[in-house]
Amino acid sequence: MYLKDFTYHKPQNLEEACKILEQSKNGAVIAGGTDILVEIKKGLRYNDNIISLMAIEELRVIDEDTDALHIGSGVTHNEVKNSSLIIKKFPAIVEAASKIGTDQIRNTGTIGGNLCTGASCCDMAPVLISHNASVEISSSTKQRIVSVKDFFIFHKKTSLKRGEIMTKIIVPKVNSSTGYCFEKFGLREAASISVASLSVMIKVVNNNCADSCVVIGAVAPTPKISIKASEVLYGIDISKLSKNSSVLRKAGEAAEADSLPLDDIRGTAYFRRNTVKVLAQRAILKAVIRASNLKI
């Protein structure tokens, strides 16, 4: 197993990085390398120019302003997991980051890399979509912001265009009466790819669901919002949501109905649909509890 030789660049700033990327015939950006190096070693891709983002400090910063949390695209999963800011204010994002890979992978793999690989089973996407997060994308000429929801176009296809680099993830501040929960099902306890994943946002006002978002992962060509499930929750009296309640069952079934999974080595489409249904019910209950707790 080996890596076919390439030209390596380590630009010191974003502008330089964008330029090199733009000028290279078949260049690719590397952050942690945990996906791209595997693909090159397996012969699934080849890039003649590899542009490292390691030296660009601005991509490695976590900070916040009055409206949002900003996570640099080069922030590692463990940096997300261990960030006191994120732990305090965005616990579901920590849940998702801590379920990716292994400690070794989390120490090098980055949040930006996870998204840019564009896999339908990307674990960070559902939780970010449920937070209504966006990503900032830069090229040498302009900068644009796109919602994470729209960033994913198809399995392994994102809205990144030639010469563009994802620079940060912008997560709007969480409203105090809102609860989030990320759930993932892998075939073994740790270090497994999601068979299905799911993230829920529920806003509770006066015991009613004032806003909701259910996002499903690994069960469609892209992570996506289950509109049906989100609608089932909207406006309901949350005291009616209990483990075996019909509303909860309906929400699970709605998430299932919105999924469009394939059969693959990790499970059949049927199994995935069922899993997403179960995860939805579990995540919704947890999110509601969190939303209610926040209120108190």
Partner: protein, 933 residues
């Protein structure tokens, strides 16, 4: 173009020129010669290459060397402070957390980074922390214990010595029966242990293989012209360049060519070999070799393959692709079933699993100028490799030296001669350079030799009281393209069933069928785990049918000592009943069985195995295990030379214990040289769980020969009759007056001074005439058999189908445990490996026979997070045929696991899963099916 990298490794600044495509692992191993970080999967799945980068654990195979510019790297080599081991290393050694040692450096470094961040972790946190470091040997339990011990050490606490009860048979012994750390553990904990891939010889070049991309085809032509012209390419070999002598594992089925001659039979079959200055050039050359194939229809399903008109893999043999056919009938099954009050027949299906030792296969060959070749290889069986090379190369054994370096696990994957071993020699001969060849993880899977997938129709008849009256088994083994061990696997699948329970009438029909898939071979438990899974499952189903407790039905039929089975196997020591009683009690079976809430279940399984095959793989009169001992002239140390291989199971330690006990010296006075055909006398190696009994007997005998000479010498010094003296704990003492003694070394030195070298030799052959006289009667024979019972408790998520194994209680009859800590290590390793096989593992192929999960990312094996609590006990037992009463534990420990889990899952969900692996999807389907009814 190379780039300069400034890197601080273990406190030393280096400025190195690296290729951009080099990984940090390449930099450490190839440039700095720090070989403690290991190549395991090369894709970030196994963690064997873990190092610390600025204090954080990373997979160095997934970090570009250029990206490590300016970083501080810590490798295993720097962890000890000179002579002083790091507390983590100390704890790993003392607690038995190291077996093959290949995952150890990475595991220790990950432990360090974890404890640096979390100095007082909870048990769950430890389990979670180590999921990035796969270990196939230990079952993680002793690693957890070691991590907990480190926490104590770091707090300045010394842990209490584990209190354990000596077995009765070990009470009068000094070295045998003790929980002693493995003698090779310090080297493995510090990265000093050398594995084959760690060796670089001067002027060494590399070899790689071109594998077939198609499942079944005639080779029309091969053109190597373009490849030969690439700079750096030294030699290319194709089928036309190599011998016509075919080889394999079992002599009646030598059906493999060194390189494909005119046909390829599976995706992965070996077509050509290239040697070049580096692996990258080899890979480029391989891509430039043009092969024209004429594709033939292929067959992947054994049942299809047996049908008339199915594509045939071999035109000249194996009609209907039936590679092996076994037709055994003992007693009278018709009568037996007629006598039964209840009969049940079910179909069970196994899974195609792969051993996945963490160390890939590697071989290095070097010729000298006298026509002798030396082969370093990661093998379980130095002698069989030696023998096979002698056949293939047409050279006497004396012209070939085979050295097993450290071996990073085998489990059967390295139990035969592989093409790397042959081709590295051929490439080295032609090129005049030493040649290193290694498999990557994908190539390991394609070389295969994992477990046969079996389709088993099993029928058991019982009386009302549960007494078994007859058993009928029909097994179809999917064999892949070549025979490998398959003939033996097919016999084993049948012959081992009657060893656990008294089966008066037994019929076995076995078929091994060739398919266009990677060849199957011998994996831990060789042919027997699937039939055992089927039997343990069906026996519990029958117990339910007749309203009997699952342990009671086993006790009713349990094998008793000194029994000849219906298929003429001689059982001597047997404590299966004691094992069953032990696990019943320790698991609180009576309080739990039938009383657990839905989703929670408890199950029992039994197992056992041969303590070494009664007959060799090829016909020979050589003793199976041999040993010599050479005592230093001053008597200070003894070196045991033994041909059998320590592949991580700890045989060097166990055999040294047996020899030391026999000589009357302590273990620290022993060192061991093993598995080197020049230095050590023949040993058949580490397969069929043979080493403790056979190597142990040879080592003990060699020790006794030394002891007798020491006694003679001491008798002269002490002026006492030899018969009045004995040896113990480095002394020669008067039996009736132990205060009167001389140091052992004094007697040894006196011997050397007057009579020359003090050496001992020992050998062991199984008793002659083992087994019956029918065809295939040899397979299953053994000097002794092990027995075990396991209870398993699981929790099943009834909504997702996910199984969590909570607890295992195992009781094992391994005779006298020469080293109880090593025995526990085998049991714990087998529980986790067995759990992994039962719940996760399965090779998946596409419709063209291409393996889809030939890695550790998609082929899941258990991580530390899956490890249940394991309670392992050793029952009192004494095997007269074994050294100090010992017998096997290695493979037998796997046998009860599959059935125990299946039975526990059934207890939890109320539905029986009869097809492995027991996945969440199958569980959900079964639950849904049941609800529909």
């Amino acid at each position: 173009m190379k780039q300069l990298v400034q890197i601080n490794v273990n406190g030393t600044e280096h400025e190195l020129a690296v290729k951009p495509s080099a990984t940090l692992l390449d930099l450490l191993r190839d440039q700095l010669k720090l070989t403690g970080a290991k190549r395991g999967c090369e894709l970030g799945d196994c963690g064997a290459c873990t190092v610390l980068m600025d204090g954080k654990s990373v997979n160095s195979c997934l970090v570009l060397a250029v990206e490590a510019d300016g970083k501080n790297i810590t490798t295993i080599e720097s962890l000890a402070d000179g002579e002083e081991l790091h507390p983590i290393q100390r704890a790993f050694i003392e607690k038995g957390a190291i077996q093959c040692g290949y995952c150890t450096p990475g595991m220790i470094l990950r432990t360090k980074s974890f404890l640096d961040q979390n100095p007082d972790p909870k048990a769950d946190e430890i389990k979670e922390a180590l999921t990035g470091n796969l270990c196939r040997c230990t079952g993680y339990s002793k690693i957890f214990e070691a991590v907990e011990t480190v926490v104590d050490y770091l707090k300045g606490k010394e842990t209490e010595k584990i209190k354990f009860q000596l077995q009765k048979s070990a009470r009068d012994l000094s070295v045998v029966g003790k929980r002693l750390p493995k003698i090779d553990a310090p080297d493995k904990a510090t990265g000093r242990a050398i594995y084959t891939d760690d060796i670089t010889l001067p002027n060494m070049i590399y070899g790689k293989l071109l594998l077939s991309p198609v499942p079944h085809a005639k080779i029309k032509s091969i053109s190597t012209e373009k490849a030969r012209l690439l700079p750096g390419v030294k030699i290319i070999l194709t089928g036309a360049d190599v011998t016509d002598i075919s080889y394999g594992t079992s002599p009646p089925r030598y059906d493999e060519n060194v390189l494909a001659k005119d046909k390829v039979r599976y995706v992965g079959d070996v077509v050509a070999a290239v040697a070049a200055i580096d692996e990258e050039t080899c890979y480029q050359a391989i891509k430039s070799i043009e092969v024209e194939y004429e594709e033939l229809s292929a067959v992947f399903d054994p049942i299809e393959a047996m049908k008339d008109g199915a594509p045939r893999l071999f035109d000249d043999k194996y009609e209907n692709n039936i590679n092996t056919r076994v037709d055994h009938h003992f007693g009278d099954t018709e009568k037996g079933f007629a006598e039964a009050d209840h009969i049940r027949e079910e179909r069970f299906v196994g899974n195609r699993t792969y051993q996945n030792p963490i160390e890939p296969h590697v071989a290095i060959a070097e010729w000298d100028r006298h026509g002798r070749v030396t082969l370093y290889t990661s093998t379980q069986v130095v002698h069989y490799v030696h023998h096979q090379l002698s056949r293939i190369l047409d050279l006497p054994l004396g012209n070939i030296r085979v050295i097993m370096t450290n071996c990073g696990g085998g489990f059967g994957a390295k139990a035969a001669t592989n093409m790397l071993e042959i081709l590295s020699i051929l490439l080295a001969k032609k090129s005049g350079c030493p040649v290193k060849m290694r498999f990557n993880r994908e190539e390991m899977y394609l070389y295969g030799r994992g477990r046969h997938k079996q389709y088993i129709d099993l029928k058991i008849g019982v009386k009302k009281d549960g007494t078994i009256t007859a058993v009928k088994q029909n097994a179809i083994l999917e064999g892949g393209a070549y025979s490998s061990f398959g003939i033996v696997s097919t016999y084993y699948a049948g012959s081992m069933l009657p060893t656990l329970y008294n089966i008066p009438n037994y019929k076995y029909d076995g078929y091994r069928v060739n398919t266009n898939l990677p060849p199957c071979g011998a994996m831990r438990g060789h042919g027997t785990p699937h039939p055992r899974f089927a039997f343990e499952s069906l026996l519990s189903m029958i117990a339910d049918d007749i309203g009997m407790d699952h342990i009671d039905i086993r006790l009713k039929n349990a094998m008793q000592p000194e029994t000849r089975t219906c298929n003429d196997l001689d059982i001597h020591s047997c404590e299966l009943t004691a094992c069953l009683e032990k696990v019943r009690k320790r698991s609180s079976w009576n309080e739990k069985k039938g009383k657990l809430p839905p989703g929670r279940g408890i199950g029992i399984g039994c197992g056992g195995f041969v303590s070494g095959a009664g007959y060799p793989i090829y016909r020979s009169k050589f003793p199976h295990s041999n040993a010599t001992i050479k005592v230093q002239e001053d008597g200070s140390k003894a070196v045991l030379f033994v041909g059998d291989a320590d592949i991580g199971q700890g045989s060097d330690t166990v055999l040294a214990q047996a020899a030391a006990e026999a000589m009357g010296i302590t273990l620290e006075r022993m060192s061991v040289v093993s598995a080197d055909s020049d230095l050590t006398p023949l040993g058949f190696g580490a397969y069929s769980s043979r080493v403790t009994l056979m190597g142990g007997n040879a080592s003990k005998m060699a020790g006794e020969e030394v002891r007798n000479q020491v006694l003679k010498s001491a008798a002269e010094i002490m002026e006492l009759d030899e018969s009045k003296l004995t040896v113990s704990n480095n002394k020669v003492l008067e039996i009736d007056n132990p205060e009167n003694y001389i140091p052992w070394e004094k007697a040894a030195e006196a011997h050397f001074s007057t009579k020359g070298p003090l050496v001992g030799k020992g050998h062991y052959s199984p008793p002659e005439g083992l087994g019956g006289t029918y065809k295939g009667a040899a397979v299953g024979t053994s000097p002794a058999f092990s027995f075990s019972a396991s209870v398993c408790e699981v929790e099943v998520d009834m909504e997702t189908g996910k199984v969590k194994v909570l607890d295992f209680w195992d009781a094992h009859d391994c005779g006298t445990a020469i080293n109880p800590m090593a025995v526990e290590g085998q049991v714990e390793g087998a529980v986790v490996m067995g759990l992994s096989e039962t719940l996760f593992e399965d090779e998946v192929f596409d419709k063209n026979g291409k393996l889809l999960n030939a890695d550790l990312h998609n082929y899941l094996i258990a991580t530390s997070a899956e490890t249940p609590r394991i309670d392992s006990t050793i029952v009192d037992s004494y095997e007269s045929e074994g050294p100090f009463g010992a017998k096997e534990v290695g493979e037998g420990a796997t046998l009860p696991v599959l059935g125990a889990i299946a039975n526990a899952v059934d207890d939890a969900i109320g539905v029986r899963i009869k097809e492995l692996p027991i996945t969440p999807e199958k569980i959900l389907d079964a639950i849904n099916e049941k609800e529909k009814k």
